[in-house]
């Protein structure tokens, strides 16, 4: 396997423009002769399917939800970044590029990030034209707020439901194309394998989740926009259905998996309330615009927060990082929360929480302004915790939120399997080792609206995929592999539920591969994961049959894949003997406890190739060059 990043030559400002000119085109009349499969209907998959259909391609779209509108992008709250500089505060494409590379702790590809920053401005325009009701000021112009890791206001938002509104924009564009016949929609279909013919990705195998039918679908190219794998930790802010199966199946068919250990732990989530917990709920980072994070100065101070006087509170982010204060990037905020809780100064049940306090903002701006800005988030908090955040500070704690790692892609968003393109959270390319707030929506839509529709044409024009049929041996092999796996899961007939295995795996990952990692802990995890996996396949209990709607069977297949992915994550975390962004190895830190990179040895993308059943994966390295943003210790002080 050879990693060819295909970064265009020339100055960074011109790379994308030059590349767009150099790429081959598919004649408009010929586009309708080409079929493209898009798996996933979130911001990336939905925008890609709609845009490619508008261009004239015949698109087949798949999602496991009952409607494309329910993909988990819908839950993104805070906003979307764009270098519009509408606030006249010194923003520019270059600054967004710079902030993103620095925020990613110098582990992303400069050329990709620059393109992302360039395209960001078009995304806002596109979404406004679709009717996304972004927040406006009294003159009718677009409003902005600030997010972590930036000192300018460049985040566009629609209350605390920005992801919902952007997704509905893409979904409506999709429905328009579905009505026109450009997109064939397959809801309640789960991709269970990738079909590779003569070295090219040519189709997928799906399970119809209502009837259980195993089906093959063929096309000239396959696009995965299937999101991240945070649910490997069981508890995360992801939707219950979010899973790694599509990208994991692709990995096992030859797509390299890049930087699997880069996971983002989001600092502002509602703390765990008990062992019944099924998922964690995020409180948007935008709250850190007005909320102040603190814990008591004294250990074990269990007075109610309102009775702790000002001089006995430690606003630790403001104290340690005076220039960014509460708006430090997510990895820094999360690690600091863990640190104060480890010191015994955490608040709430079990001492795993810190306060996010709006008292001062309410005094300064009035309750009404705070209600307008964050009303729905405050309500959600109250509904879950039964506490009123207008009166008592919120309690928050970090939780798994996003995965920067994903399938390796080149500048054209194509994986190491020709024809297999990967977009959005499912790929690895733009966020390095830590994603900045409001950048996930930006990347998903950049990939889907403005990058893939160009690069897919270049692939089709060059690769000229030949017609294939359903009776090709590769199709039959993939279909029988899926059927065999399904019957194996049903045949175990053991004693433990899928969820009990998933919880155990998640706890193991959280303990040994969570916010802080050590070589010793990772080795322990690497010993225990295969044992748990073996037990799963020996003792899991999956009731029901494969010819009906069977949610236990769906979960079992996903957890089986998480069990394999977990091992790769730990392996990657163990091999990366440095700390960077969300990957914090306790052995590698500065005297102040900040992440200590080792650029001489680890300024590369770790791309893992599947080695075959029972064999270790093979590591490939894509060196990262920093021509524009010079490598430096990140400082938010």
């Amino acid at each position: 396997m050879e990693l060819q990043s295909k970064i265009p030559a020339g100055p960074i400002e011109q790379k994308w423009d030059n590349h767009r000119f150099e790429m081959k085109l598919v004649n408009p009349a010929n586009k309708r002769k080409h079929e493209i499969i898009v798996v996933g209907t979130g911001l990336a998959g939905g925008s890609a399917a709609a845009s490619m259909s508008e261009l004239g391609y015949r698109v087949k779209s798949f999602c496991f939800q009952d409607s494309p509108r329910r993909a988990h992008s819908i839950a993104a709250q805070g906003g979307i970044n764009a270098a519009k500089n509408y606030q006249n505060d010194g923003d520019s494409v270059y600054r967004l590029f710079y902030d993103t590379v620095k925020g990613g702790d110098y582990r992303s590809r400069e050329a990709n990030v620059y393109r992302l920053a360039q395209i960001s401005v078009n995304i806002i325009d596109q979404c406004v034209a679709q009717g996304v009701p972004f927040a406006r000021d009294y003159g009718g112009l677009l409003d902005n707020r600030s997010f972590g890791g930036a000192q300018v206001s460049r985040t566009f938002y629609a209350r605390g439901q920005t992801g919902q509104q952007l997704l509905l924009g893409a979904y409506q564009a999709m429905e328009k194309e579905i009505a026109r016949g450009g997109i064939t929609m397959h809801p309640r279909h789960e991709m269970l394998d990738l079909i590779v013919i003569d070295g090219q990705a040519r189709g997928i195998v799906t399970r119809n989740m209502v009837t259980g039918a195993i089906e093959s679908h063929l096309a000239d190219a396959v696009v995965l926009g299937t999101g991240g794998y945070g649910n490997v930790f069981y508890l995360s802010t992801n939707a219950k259905g979010s899973n790694c199966t599509a990208i994991w199946r692709a990995y096992k068919r030859g797509a390299a998996f890049a930087n699997p250990c880069y996971t983002q732990i989001h600092p502002t989530c509602i703390p765990v309330s008990g062992h019944h917990q099924s998922k964690l709920t995020l409180m948007s980072e935008s709250l850190r615009n007005d909320g102040r994070v603190w814990v008591p100065r004294k250990k074990g101070d269990d007075r109610p927060p309102n009775q702790i006087p000002e001089d006995e509170r430690d606003y630790y982010l403001e104290r340690k990082y005076p220039s960014f204060g509460n708006l430090v990037p997510r990895d820094v905020a999360s690690r600091n929360a863990k640190e104060v809780c480890d010191e015994g100064r955490g608040v709430g049940p079990g001492g795993r929480g810190v306060y996010l306090d709006f008292r001062d903002a309410i005094q300064r701006l009035g309750e009404q302004v705070i209600r307008e800005r964050y009303g729905n988030l405050f309500e959600m908090y109250q509904r879950i915790t039964d506490e009123d955040p207008y009166k008592v500070p919120m309690r928050i704690y970090p939780a798994v939120h996003y995965t920067m790692g994903g399938l390796w892609v080149d500048y054209n968003l194509m994986s190491t399997i020709p024809g297999l393109h990967v977009i959005g959270e499912a790929n690895f390319s733009d966020h390095g080792a830590n994603r900045l707030g409001a950048s996930a929506l930006m990347q998903g839509l950049a990939d889907g609206y403005f990058v893939l529709p160009y690069t897919i044409g270049d692939y089709i024009a060059n690769a000229k995929p030949k017609p294939v049929s359903d009776d090709h041996p590769a199709v039959r092999e993939a279909m029988s592999a899926v059927a065999e796996r399904t019957s194996r899961l049903l045949a175990v007939n053991g004693t433990r539920t899928v969820d009990s295995f998933h919880r155990e795996l998640g706890q193991l990952m959280w303990d040994y591969c969570g916010m802080a990692r050590t070589a010793e802990g990772l080795q322990k995890a690497l010993e225990r994961i295969p044992i748990l996996r073996e037990e799963f396949w020996r003792d899991v209990n999956v009731p029901g049959s494969d010819v009906e709607l069977n949610q236990a069977l769906e979960k079992a297949g996903r957890v089986a894949d998480f069990m394999e992915l977990a091992e790769l994550i730990c392996l990657d975390a163990l091999h990366r003997n440095e700390s960077c962004g969300g990957h914090f190895r306790e052995e590698y830190q500065t005297p102040e406890g900040e992440a200590l990179r080792d650029d001489a040895h680890f300024a590369y993308v770790a791309a893992w190739e599947y080695g075959g059943a029972g064999k270790p994966p093979i590591l490939h390295k894509e060196p990262l060059d920093f021509e524009y943003v010079h490598l430096a210790q990140r400082s938010y002080k």
Partner: protein, 253 residues
């Protein structure tokens, strides 16, 4: 807490369904309603039975997947709350809770509490969008939207497409769902060119799907987890009437 559940069980779309009674024990008031069902399902699997099938995904009240009648009320007793955000502290120890799927001709049951809501997608496909192909947009600030209109559009655009409005309506009308999208787009300058054809096409599709008519019971706004106001339906009716009287929009053949 200990609760008695009466749950609608139906093995498949054409199979006959019936209520089954289950006991939920060791329920914490901090659990969400769906976490309570998770506990019951774990018990069912361990006892060798089939778990209760229900749609759910984000569990944050935004994806709109969850869809169940709880004691005859769509999404249960707390106003402005989807079932996934309902917590067990809203119930008392010893309560009996009746759980059913959405009941509507246009939402056929697939299994247990899972229904087919694809009719909603087809209503959107009929015209619930602005035709703005990728790449054709002017600068975002070139289109001015008065703040109050943007806010009102957002109030309507919040609809999560769960179908509670239909389930709550004695007529099984999808008017609140349809009107929310019509109103959202009609309040924005970008939505004007297709305003007439949109309302005509969406209302027609609503009828084709077999949803009932709105006769102003007002149950929909009570059930709506996003508390979208029935005023939106008045706007839809207004737009429908006006567009019917104007030169008939050129409709698709």
């Amino acid at each position: 807490m200990q609760l008695t559940l009466q749950v609608w069980r139906q093995p498949g779309p054409r199979a006959e369904g019936k209520f089954e009674t289950y006991t939920a024990t060791d329920i914490s008031p901090d659990m969400s309603f769906l976490e309570m069902l998770d506990v019951v399902n774990e018990g069912l699997i361990e006892a060798g039975s089939q778990p209760i099938a229900f749609d759910h995904d984000c569990r944050e009240g935004i994806c709109g997947s969850c869809s169940m009648m709880i004691n005859g009320v769509a999404h249960g007793p707390v106003k402005g709350t989807a079932a996934c955000q309902l917590h067990m502290r809203s119930f008392r120890d010893g309560d009996t809770i009746v759980i059913e799927p959405w009941r509507s001709r246009a939402f056929p049951v697939i299994k247990d509490l899972v229904v087919d809501r694809s009719a909603f997608d087809r209503i959107i496909a009929a015209g619930g969008y602005i035709t703005a192909p990728t790449g054709s947009a002017p600068d975002g600030n070139a289109i001015l939207v008065p703040k109050q209109n943007a806010d009102r559009a957002m109030d309507a655009a919040q609809c999560i497409g769960c179908g509670a409005c239909v389930a709550a309506c004695p007529n099984g009308s999808a008017s609140l769902f349809t009107a929310s999208k019509i109103s959202h787009l009609a309040l924005l300058p970008q939505g004007q060119p297709e305003r007439d054809s949109r309302v005509q096409a969406m209302v027609r599709q609503m009828d084709i799907e077999g949803f009932g008519s709105c006769t102003w019971y007002g149950e929909c706004q009570e059930a709506c987890p996003k508390e979208i106001s029935i005023d939106r339906i008045a706007q839809m009716n207004h737009d429908f009437l006006v567009s019917s009287m104007r030169a008939r929009p050129r409709s698709a053949p």
